[in-house]
């Protein structure tokens, strides 16, 4: 049947022509014309009415409403073409008349519409088209016809069942089987209907009722849209738009909400669709270059599958934003249980570094794409609380920061995203919970936490670490730009015009006080930019943190309540909470995300995850045989999952020779280990009640395992002594098969001892190490004295003087200590290893006695500082990310965080490493390099040129990029677009130590600026 298509095609031109014709024609005439046309149509219709011929197979099959009129009739064979086209012409005119008709008085139907309703015109026309072969073409035409009259009629048509009902029949007949063209038209019409619905909710009831007439309490237009949710291209977009209209409708209409949540598959389709789309993403990304670290807009635009996934994710985000809470909750629940847990969690634990790296990059992109708090919460609770194979996702991610190559970098980028959310829960889990007990500082220092740095003492101390080769005084302009800020009265208005002539002049003011302009001092104008950015960063962070539950100022939350010794109590509370919200860790008939386990402070990890945490990259693989020979038989679950072992192996093979381990992290990990062991015990207690819900097998397994752990714990030091050396690979001589691994370990070990004796020298007990230990202790004490000198109240003496003194005559930090050079020993000197092992064993023994209060600032800080410590060996982009993250952290206004990162006066526990300590050791390393390498100064200059060139090219890119989230103001984001850097001719990026030196100097300024702004901003009451 051609009529509809003609109608539809003639739509634009024809209609306007018609409208012109109709203008001025009085309604009565129109009515008469309409009736005449209809009479002609009816004649033809009745002639072929199948009901008059008892062979109404079509109708019976369709089970639709009976027709009004009856009467004897012949069997109607195929309808002659002339009759079909006649009907088509008449209908075309009739529809124009209908569309152009205005509503009657007070919203009454116009006469034509009334006639259409009375005579059931639309339905009879629909049946007429059914009578003939109902092909896709015909569906298309009918759809277009409705689209036109629904969209263009001047009076509401859908309120009338005789119009609505045939429309519904048409829609349902189009579902499922149609070809792409019909689908496109169907979705377009559905979209239009949703627009009508959104404007006029009174139609809504009719949509439901009409469906009921058909025997199913069905919200047809909604159900029809669902299959198109994940469709790509225009059709998918139109369908999602239409669905969103219904979603916002649901927010106000309980019935719609209930229907969608209870009677449709909307949420499961949406969530599992994500899983489906995810599975079609590339499992390995082709990484454009070594410095690539996250998926930027220009990256993912090249990947159609990723675009499609992001569209769907964005749609979920939008649905959650507008939909009724019942739908919203159901959807996030399905996303959690249908996508995050079953799909993303395993993907994060795949076999190869590349795959895991890819998944991490995806996760980072998703976190940046999601904006709705509820959805963010879903993702975050997955990251923070979900355990995959008994390890928190968060712990896994943190441990990966330390992995070589892209995985570490991508993980860093993910954390940059997470920290940028200003989310209390994230910060709590990452850092704050370790700082709340205030165990990381000396007891006397607690009052210092909230103290304000009036005189920029910390900034001065930080800047005093500027390496001499980069010091403003020593490096000549133009590169170390030293234009003084001489904005005297006359030149005030153009403060940024660059270098000004230095000048001296005298000025008399009214009161006889003369002002002298300093002539010889150069100011680093660049520093002003840092101050400005620090101000922006801190104030937006402070504003964001206003929604937080506590100020984290060393008083609230009260440290006393969160001492490790208070764990029992916390555990009890956790238990209570758990009975209310029993943990569900196995599949649930009606998917609901599992209630995350209540964790205790400060370390909610159990022993099992540590096995992998500390050994993942810090230790060589411990083969199962090795484990068995040296410790009691373990349940298989105690071994890290196969794929992790596998990945470890890959990692170590990759790193051999090129990657130097962050051994200090290892040290922290041992402490972590101890705390966690205690925790594991708590966990057992806490978990017991809920275990009952677990399958029997699992329960018994768990139980034996935990009992075992308990026994371990009780056996205390002896047991640990055996265990820890193992986890450090020091008992490996017993297993010659692991020689290769061991050799790298020894190198690591030696570096560790060389580098960070400070962290455990206080515990050195073994006689051979005593001498070294004492010496180091002395130095350490000196360091602490220096750090605390201002605090001790040196009267009028300026702490800045101290800084200066330090600067000229740097305090010898233990890091410089070279006396213990284990690198001279090869791995075939077992005595040494024994010594080594006894060293760790001693450390542990002494540690275990005070394991309750072992100060530990958390794995995240630990791993960040470890990587920072390696700054000189890190590539430029890793350093950009690292310093970016640390600066981001430093901008947080919470006094606990601020004092830990920025307060150089703070006296920490000896075992706690502070940012300042790491920076000081870096300065020393740099000074050493600078003194030994002759080309260092000129290399510095080249590196500065190179970085400047790079920066200005990035600036140009920035203006073109439309993706605001990718253009975070963070330097790392700015300076590290995926495009390859312009390689400077004079210096290779391989000279990491040179680039690191330049960056280090800039980082000091950045930190100092943040410290300075804190001293002002954090103490001014916020606006509002």
């Amino acid at each position: 049947m051609m009529m509809a298509s003609m109608v539809a095609n003639g739509n634009r031109n024809g209609r306007e022509g018609e409208a012109l014709v109709l203008k001025g024609v009085d309604p009565e005439t129109c009515m008469i014309v309409f009736k005449n046309h209809w009479a002609q149509v009816v004649k033809i219709l009745e002639k072929h009415d199948p009901l008059r011929s008892n062979t109404s197979s079509n109708m019976a099959a369709l089970g639709v409403i009976g027709l009004s009129s009856g009467g004897p009739m012949r069997f109607g064979g195929p309808i002659p073409g002339d009759e079909a086209s006649a009907v088509q012409n008449y209908v075309e005119h009739m529809l124009f008349l209908l569309m152009e008709e205005d509503a009657g008085q007070a919203g009454a139907m116009g006469p034509i519409l009334e006639f259409v309703v009375m005579e059931n015109v639309m339905e009879r026309l629909f049946l007429w088209s059914l009578r003939r072969q109902f092909t896709d073409d015909m569906k298309l035409e009918q759809l277009k016809m409705y689209e036109m009259i629904v969209g263009q009629a001047r009076q509401p048509l859908l309120h009338h069942k005789p119009v609505l009902r045939p429309l519904m029949m048409l829609l349902s007949s189009c579902s499922g089987t149609a070809g792409p063209e019909v689908e496109a038209e169907l979705v377009s019409l559905l979209n239009q209907l949703c627009c009508v619905l959104a404007k006029d909710q009174s139609v809504l009831e009719l949509f439901f009722h009409t469906s009921e007439d058909q025997g199913a309490a069905n919200f047809l237009i909604f159900s029809l849209l669902i299959p198109f949710i994940h469709r790509e291209g225009l059709v998918g977009q139109q369908a999602r738009d239409a669905l969103l209209l219904i979603m916002s409708l649901s927010a106000e209409n309980q019935r719609v909400a209930q229907h969608i949540a209870e009677n449709t598959y909307f949420c499961p389709v949406l969530a599992t669709g994500l899983s489906g789309l995810y599975s079609s993403l590339p499992t390995k990304l082709e990484v454009p270059g070594e410095e690539w670290h996250c998926l930027h807009r220009e990256d993912w635009l090249q990947m159609p599958t990723l675009v499609q996934f992001l569209n769907s994710l964005e749609f979920c985000n939008a649905v959650i934003q507008v939909a009724h809470p019942s739908i919203r909750d159901q959807l996030v629940s399905y996303i959690y249980n249908g996508f995050l847990v079953p799909v993303l969690a395993p993907a994060l634990h795949k076999l190869t570094l590349e795959e895991v790296m890819t998944t991490t990059a995806y996760l980072d992109l998703f976190m940046r794409s999601v904006s709705e708090p509820v959805l963010l919460q879903t993702f975050l609770s997955f990251i923070l609380l979900h355990r995959h194979e008994n390890v928190h996702i968060l712990d896994t991610l943190v441990s990966r920061i330390n992995t070589p190559f892209q995985l570490g970098t991508v993980s860093l980028a993910l954390f940059q995203t997470l920290i940028g959310l200003y989310c209390e829960d994230v910060m709590l889990q990452l850092i704050l919970r370790y700082l709340i007990p205030c165990n990381h500082m000396m007891l006397s220092q607690r009052r210092v936490v909230k103290e304000r740095d009036f005189y920029s003492v910390s900034a001065a101390k930080i800047l005093a670490l500027t390496p001499s080769c980069c010091s403003p005084e020593h490096s000549p302009p133009p590169l170390r730009q030293l234009d003084s800020i001489l904005w005297s009265k006359g030149t005030d208005n153009s403060p940024n015009t660059g270098i000004k002539e230095t000048e001296t002049f005298l000025e008399e003011d009214g009161s006889g006080y003369s002002c002298v302009i300093g002539s010889e001092i150069y100011l680093d104008v660049n520093y002003l930019h840092y101050l400005y950015n620090a101000r922006l960063g801190i104030s937006s962070c402070t504003r964001a943190c206003q929604v937080w539950s506590a100020p984290y100022d060393g008083e609230d939350p009260p440290p006393e309540e969160y001492q490790p010794s208070a764990l029992e109590e916390t555990g009890a509370r956790g238990r209570q909470a758990q009975t209310v919200n029993p943990k569900r860790s196995h599949p649930h008939p009606r998917p609901r995300p599992p209630c995350p386990p209540q964790t205790t402070d400060p370390a909610p990890t159990n022993h099992l995850e540590l096995e992998w945490d500390d050994s993942y990259d810090a230790c060589p693989v411990v083969s199962p045989e090795a484990a068995e020979s040296s410790r009691p038989p373990q349940p298989p679950a105690a071994e890290p999952p196969k794929h992790i072992q596998e990945m470890r192996r890959t990692a170590i093979m990759l790193v051999k020779g090129s990657y130097i381990e962050e051994s200090d992290f290892q040290d922290d990990v041992m402490v972590y280990d101890l705390v966690a062991k205690k925790d594991a015990r708590d966990t057992v207690d806490r978990c017991r009640p809920s275990r009952e819900t677990q399958p029997e097998l699992e329960e018994s397994e768990m139980d034996s395992e935990f009992n075992l752990e308990e026994d371990h714990f009780k056996e205390s030091s002896l047991q640990e002594k055996d265990e820890v050396p193992l986890s450090n690979g020091l008992s490996l001589p017993l297993h010659p098969t692991n020689m290769e691994v061991n050799s790298s370990e020894v190198t690591k070990g030696s570096k560790e001892v060389k580098g960070h004796v400070a962290d455990y020298n206080s515990n050195l007990q073994s006689p051979s190490a005593t001498e070294v230990g004492d010496d180091l202790m002395g130095q350490y004490e000196e360091l602490i004295r220096t750090l605390g000198s201002d605090e001790a109240g040196t009267g009028g003496s300026s702490p800045v003087k101290t800084v200066d003194k330090e600067f000229r005559n740097p305090v010898v930090t233990p890091m410089e200590e070279d006396e213990v050079d284990f690198s001279s020993f090869s791995m075939d000197t077992p005595e040494l290893e024994k010594q080594h092992s006894s060293l760790f064993g001693t450390k542990l023994r002494s540690g275990s006695t005070r394991s309750h209060s072992v100060p530990f600032t958390g794995p995240f800080v630990s791993v960040l500082l470890s990587r920072l410590e390696n700054m000189l060996d890190n590539s430029l982009h890793v350093n950009l990310l690292l310093t970016g993250i640390l600066a981001q952290l430093a901008a947080y206004p919470q006094p606990l965080l601020q004092s830990f990162l920025l307060n150089t006066n703070m006296v920490f526990q000896p075992s706690v490493r502070s940012l300042y300590q790491v920076l000081a050791s870096l300065k020393n390393q740099i000074e050493q390099q600078a003194s030994t390498k002759k080309d260092f100064p000129e290399m510095i200059t080249s590196a500065q040129h190179c970085l400047l060139a790079r920066e200005s090219s990035l600036k140009g890119q920035d203006t073109n990029s439309g993706d605001s989230r990718d253009c975070s103001p963070l330097v790392a984001g700015r300076m590290m677009k995926s495009s390859p850097p312009s390689q400077p001719k004079t210096i290779s990026l391989a000279r990491t130590e040179v680039f690191a030196t330049v960056l280090f100097t800039e980082f000091l300024k950045e930190l100092a600026a943040i410290a300075q702004e804190h001293s002002i901003l954090s103490h001014v009451p916020m606006e509002e």
Partner: protein, 300 residues
């Protein structure tokens, strides 16, 4: 005494100015309309300084004199920043104290010079409106205490009848960093008008009169207050955009300002776009558990 406007970084001062305006500036609109402070363009972080074209390298090393000038011995390039921020910190403290009847504002040229005005609301000096200037030594906080000089020498035992300087030093014999703050000086400047001290006076006449003939003292004080108030609308003594100046009530300017003050509406800080400014928290107050809030959706 040498003041060093070199310390004054105009962009910072401009920023500070807006703070000051919020907190202490609008004494019911007497103050001069603010000049547009220079806007600072936004910069990226971790920027290296730009390389000026054809810049002639300045080879002249920093002279010993310049280094010596830095009394607190900091890194020469940053010393001014430390001083500036110390003073800003002091200024924020003043704001925090909400001293009754005292308003101060750092000058545009130098953070070491603050303009102030004090309103005396009762007592012998009731209705007095005294403008003053605070001079802060450039080796702050390691130097002597700041000086307070009234624009017009008020008749007061502790105010020098010629220079108008208030004897502050008697209260702060030794200026101790971390213990002494500029707000204390301002507080002191206010107290002297309510609690008259005649010991070791800078104005012996006033001291003697106060002790011997209070009535005459009172009359002289009244005259002095009148004199001061009659010069209220004078041009500021110092040509500084941030100097405090009074003008008679002009509804066109002042009504709006007054209304803003009374409605306590603060101008929202310029939000920069693209950054998420609202933070997230699902932590129940009093808990340190993530996602412990009660109104969490069911999956948590």
């Amino acid at each position: 005494m040498n003041l060093n406007p070199f310390w004054s970084m105009s962009t910072n001062t401009g920023r500070k100015r807006s703070d000051g305006e919020e907190q202490s500036g609008h004494q019911s609109g007497e103050q001069q309309q603010q000049r547009a402070s220079p806007a600072r363009p936004s910069f990226g972080k971790k920027q290296l300084p730009s390389i000026p074209k054809n810049a002639v390298p300045i080879t002249k090393p920093a002279s010993p004199a310049a280094t010596a000038q830095l009394a607190n011995g900091t890194h020469a390039s940053y010393g001014p920043f430390y001083l500036e921020y110390s003073l800003l910190a002091e200024f924020t403290l003043v704001i925090k104290q909400k001293l009754p009847g005292i308003y101060v504002q750092p000058s545009y040229k130098s953070a070491l010079m603050w303009f102030g005005v004090i309103f005396i609301r009762h007592g012998l000096y009731q209705d007095g409106v005294f403008k003053f200037t605070v001079y802060i030594p450039d080796n702050y906080p390691d130097g002597e205490c700041p000086r307070v000089v009234f624009d017009i020498p008020v008749f007061h035992p502790l105010v020098d009848p010629v220079s108008g300087e208030l004897d502050v030093r008697r209260a702060f014999t030794k200026w101790r960093r971390n213990h002494n703050h500029i707000w204390q000086v301002l507080m002191y400047a206010r107290t002297v008008f309510y609690k008259i001290n005649t010991m070791e006076p800078l104005n012996p006449e006033a001291a003697v009169l106060y002790d011997k003939d209070v009535q005459l003292f009172k009359r002289k004080v009244i005259d002095s207050v009148k004199l001061c108030n009659s010069h209220l609308f004078d041009q500021p003594k110092m040509d500084d955009p941030y100097a405090i100046s009074f003008s008679s009530w002009n509804p066109a300017i002042h009504d709006e300002a007054k209304e803003r003050m009374f409605t306590h509406k603060r101008r929202p800080e310029d939000h920069h776009k693209g950054l998420q400014v609202s933070g997230l928290s699902w932590v129940k107050p009093g808990s340190t558990q993530p996602f412990s809030k009660d109104d969490n959706p069911p999956q948590c």
